[in-house]
Amino acid sequence: MAVINKTGSAHHELAAPTRRPPLPLVSLLLNALACVGMMLSIWAIFLYAPTDAIEGLSQRIFYFHVPVAWLAMLSFVIVALGGAVYLWREDERWDWLALAAAEAGAVFTTLTLVTGSLWGRATWGTWWTWDARLTTSLILWFLYIAYLMLRSYLGKTPTSARAGAVLAILGVIDVPIIYESVNWWRTLHPAAEIGTPGALPPSVVLVLMLALVSFTLFYGALLIQLYQMVRLQYLAWRLRTRLQVVD
């Protein structure tokens, strides 16, 4: 039933062939804001922020690493929320959102792992330790890849959307558990301390906040683009199957 309704509405949407993307003004504004914010934060990170007395230049990776890691986690929450609302409302736009967020999340998790590794090499002298945060990020990355692979294997079907939603919901509850259990596992092997928050000078906090806001804006802009792409892919795929049915 739901499927028939969906194809019906998609057909209706295609009545206007070259449709403008929804809310072009908001999207444009977001792109501009993200662009300005990124420039500003790059200036702040390299020229405004004080050089760390102990770590030196490599401490500046921190301003990239933290926002990227935050977005990697936020993205998984969006995937799970999109999936949950999809299961509840049966509205496929939420599934498109989940799929777009999964791709953006996979990219940001990769960036988190890379920047974290580079920073770790510079400060700890090692690319990788099996610390709770690092292990959880790695497993998050595996979950994103598994999600994307599952979706691509199952195709553009409601089965695929439901399976993805279930995976994302299980994952979003599992990730904190993984973090805690790796923490407990590590009790015997004390890991390197990343540093205590609260001891940061105000200018560092200011730059970090600026970087957080501008990276989030950039993420928002990217998410909108990816959402549009997923939506168009679904519409094109649906049209093609309709053509084949006519044949």
Partner: protein
């Protein structure tokens, strides 16, 4: 210092490569959608 510059360049190059990849995919799907719509219209016009 050189390590930092190389790392920074690599990460940003990777990000921009991804952005370029996304815009290419969007363009591809736009053209594909246009082509398929064209085909469908021709088909419907032929039927009437």
């Amino acid at each position: 210092m050189i390590y930092m510059v190389v790392a920074y360049t690599l990460v940003w190059a990777g990000l921009f490569a991804y952005l370029a990849f996304v815009s290419l995919r969007i363009r591809a799907v736009r053209t594909e959608l246009a082509a398929v719509e064209e085909l469908l219209h021709e088909r419907e016009a032929g039927q009437e």
